[in-house]
Symmetry: C2
Subunit: 350 residues, 2 copies
C-alpha cells in the first residue's frame, strides 16, 4: 500500500497517482515543512528511507474514548498529543527525533468534515517542534472510534535505557507532575479548566531537548518518560534494572499553580504518582552527577530538575514512613487491560 504522499515543493517527495485516498493524503501534507537531512526518501514511495544510525524506534497508539475524547480536545490537540506522546519515548532514550509515520483510521464523516486533516496538522506541528518530519503512514476508513498510531524514529548514538540503574544512584524528575491527570479529573467533574491546567493536558511537550542536554553533560544510568505516572514508571525502571527504588513523596514536584487551580488538595499527590501523561522525564544518575546542573537546567528550560529518590539493592518501589519503616508503593499506573471484562469506553485516567 502506498505510503503517505505529497506533491509539495519538498525535494524528497514523490508525485502521486490518482484516488481519493491520495487526495486526502495530499491535504494532510501539502503544507509540510522541509524534511530533516537524514531523510533520504520522504513520503510518497513504498517506504521512506532514513540514512542515520543507530536509530531508536517507538510506536504509540491513541484510541478515541480511551486516550482522548472529542468533547475535551480539538482535533489539532488530539493529533499533537498523539505525536507528543510518541516523541516522548524518543526523549526517554535520549534520541534526537528525525521522522514520524502516522496511521489513521477515520470515519468517512471525519474525512469529509476536515476533522482528520486538522488532526494531522496537530501531528505535523508536534513533529516540527521536535525537528522531525512526517515521512509516511497509512490511512483507512473505519466505522469505529478514531485511531491514531504514531511511529517515531530518532538518532540515538548512546541510548539511555531503563535497565542501567544501580544501587547508590539518585532518581530525578524534570518539571512538575500531576497536571495532566488533574485536568482530566476536573473535566470529568464537568468543571471549567484554568488555562495553565488545560495546557498541561492538551499540549504536552516531549522533553527531547532536556534529555539530550542532560545526556550530554552527565553520565545517565537510566531514563524513562512519565507516561504511566511516576509510581508505575519507577516500577518499570526497578524491574528492568533489577533494583529497588526508594521514593520520597514529599519531594515530588507538583506545580503550585496547578495545585491551587485543581481544587484536589491531597489528591494531587496521588495524581502525580499515578495519574500519568505528564511526559516529564525520570532520570537515574550516579550520586552527585545532576546536583551541579540544577540551576543551569532550570535557567535554560524554565522547569525544575528535582531529586525524588534513591536506588537500592532489592526490587520494587518503596516509600519511607515518618517512623522510618519502608512501605511498598502499591498502586500501579494505568493499565489498558487491568480487568479483562471491562469493555466500557473509558477515558484513560487514574
Amino acid at each position: 500500500v502506498p505510503e503517505a504522499c505529497v506533491t509539495s515543493a519538498g525535494s524528497r517527495h514523490v508525485r502521486l497517482g490518482g484516488g481519493g485516498e491520495f487526495d486526502l493524503i495530499r491535504t494532510f501534507l501539502e503544507s509540510a515543512p522541509p524534511l530533516p537531512d537524514a531523510v533520504r526518501v520522504g513520503p510518497g514511495d513504498d517506504c521512506a528511507v532514513i540514512d542515520a544510525a543507530p536509530l531508536a524506534l517507538s510506536a504509540d497508539l491513541s484510541v478515541e474514548d480511551v486516550h482522548f475524547r472529542r468533547a475535551w480536545l480539538s482535533p489539532e490537540e488530539i493529533g499533537w498529543r498523539a505525536a507528543a506522546s510518541a516523541l516522548s519515548d524518543l526523549a526517554a532514550v535520549a534520541a534526537q527525533p528525525i521522522a514520524v509515520l502516522v496511521s489513521l483510521a477515520l470515519t468517512a464523516d471525519d474525512v469529509a468534515s476536515g476533522w482528520g486533516t486538522k488532526l494531522m496538522s496537530g501531528v505535523q506541528r508536534a513533529a516540527q517542534s521536535a525537528d522531525a518530519g512526517v515521512v509516511g503512514g497509512d490511512v483507512s476508513r473505519s466505522t469505529g472510534p478514531a485511531v491514531v498510531d504514531v511511529t517515531v524514529v530518532g538518532r540515538s548514538e548512546r541510548p539511555v535505557l531503563r535497565s542501567g540503574a544501580r544501587p547508590g544512584d539518585e532518581v530525578w524528575v524534570t518539571g512538575h507532575l500531576g497536571g495532566a491527570a488533574a485536568a482530566v479529573a476536573l473535566l470529568e467533574r464537568g468543571g471549567a479548566l484554568p488555562d495553565a491546567l488545560r495546557a498541561r493536558f492538551a499540549h504536552p511537550v516531549a522533553r527531547t531537548r532536556e534529555a539530550l542536554w542532560l545526556a550530554g553533560r552527565a553520565e545517565l544510568h537510566a531514563l524513562i518518560d512519565l507516561s504511566d505516572g511516576l509510581g508505575g514508571d519507577l516500577g518499570h525502571v526497578a524491574a528492568a534494572s533489577e533494583v529497588a527504588i526508594e521514593l520520597d513523596p514529599s519531594l515530588v514536584p507538583i506545580a503550585p499553580d496547578v495545585e491551587a487551580a485543581s481544587d484536589l488538595g491531597e489528591g494531587m499527590l496521588a495524581l502525580a504518582l499515578f495519574g500519568g501523561e505528564d511526559y516529564e522525564l525520570c532520570v537515574v544518575a550516579p550520586e552527585g552527577a545532576l546536583g551541579p546542573l540544577v540551576d543551569s537546567f532550570q535557567g535554560r528550560f524554565g522547569i525544575p530538575l528535582t531529586r525524588v529518590g534513591y536506588v537500592h539493592a532489592g526490587e520494587g518501589v518503596w516509600t519511607r514512613d515518618a517512623d522510618g519503616s519502608e512501605k511498598r508503593l502499591e498502586r500501579v499506573g494505568f493499565s489498558h487491560f487491568a480487568t479483562a471484562t471491562d469493555s466500557a469506553a473509558r477515558t484513560r485516567r487514574p
Copy 2:
C-alpha cells in the same frame, strides 16, 4: 508509554514492571525468536534501537471489516496478512526486513479470548519468515473494530523507488495476479473456496527474496508492490516517474488454477488489473535487462517473471486496442475515501 516488552531468554529484551497491559504483551512475545543482529535494543524499553543504515520504513494499517473479516480468516491469518502487507512495502524498495513494530487496538473480549494473542502469533510468523524481529509496538483497549498497524523497518543500501522509470524501459510482474481478489469475490458470493485460492488470499508472501535477487542481478529503474491492483499501481509508477506506461492486458499472468477455480471467467482479468492485494512486484528495468533472468527466476522461486508492458514519454496508463489505437486504462485501484459519504463497513475489494 512502554513499548512491547518481553521476559524471554532473548538477549536484548528488558524485564517488565507489573500491570495487565504488560501481562498481555508477555503472552504476545514469550515465544519470540532471536532478534536480528542489527537490533541493538529489542522490546521492553521506551524505544527499540536498530544499528543499520540506510533504513527503509513503512506503515500499513488493517481495520476490521475494511481490510479483513473475522468470518473469512483466522486471527493468525489476519495477523500474517497485516504483517505481509507491510513487509511487501519493504520488498517494493528492495530492502531486507530487520524489524517490525505492531500496534493493536482490541476489545477486552479479544484479549480475554486469546484472539489478540493468536493474531500476534501470525504477525510473529510473518516477521520471522522475512528474517525480521518484532521489536516494539503498542496495545490499547478499544470498543470498535480491531485495528492492527504494522510498521516495518529494513536495510536498504540502494532503495529502488517508483520514480525511476524511463521511456524505453520494460515493465514486468512477478507471480500471478488476481488470486486474492478472486477469493474475496467468491467469499462474498458465499461459495466454498478451493485451497489454492484460499492460500493466495489468506497467506500472501511478501516478495522480499525475489526483490533482493533481482536488484542484485539487474539494474532496476523502478519497483512497486501490487497492493492496489496492477492498474492502480502502474498509475503510481507513471505519476511518480512522470512517464506513460503501456500495458498489454493479454500478457498479464493469471494463475491457470485460479482462473479455473474461480468461475469468474472474463472477470479474472479485471480482478488482476484492479483487485489488489496480490503483493506481487511490478519491476521496471531497461530493455533487455530482465529477459535473460526469467528462467533462473522461475527455477529459484517457482513463480514466473513476465513482461507486461513498456514505458513511453507521456503520462498515465494505457492499453492498445486490436486496431492499434491507445486507450487510457480507466479504472483505478481501491480507494479508501473514493466517496466521502460512504460510511458503511465494506470489505476492501474491487
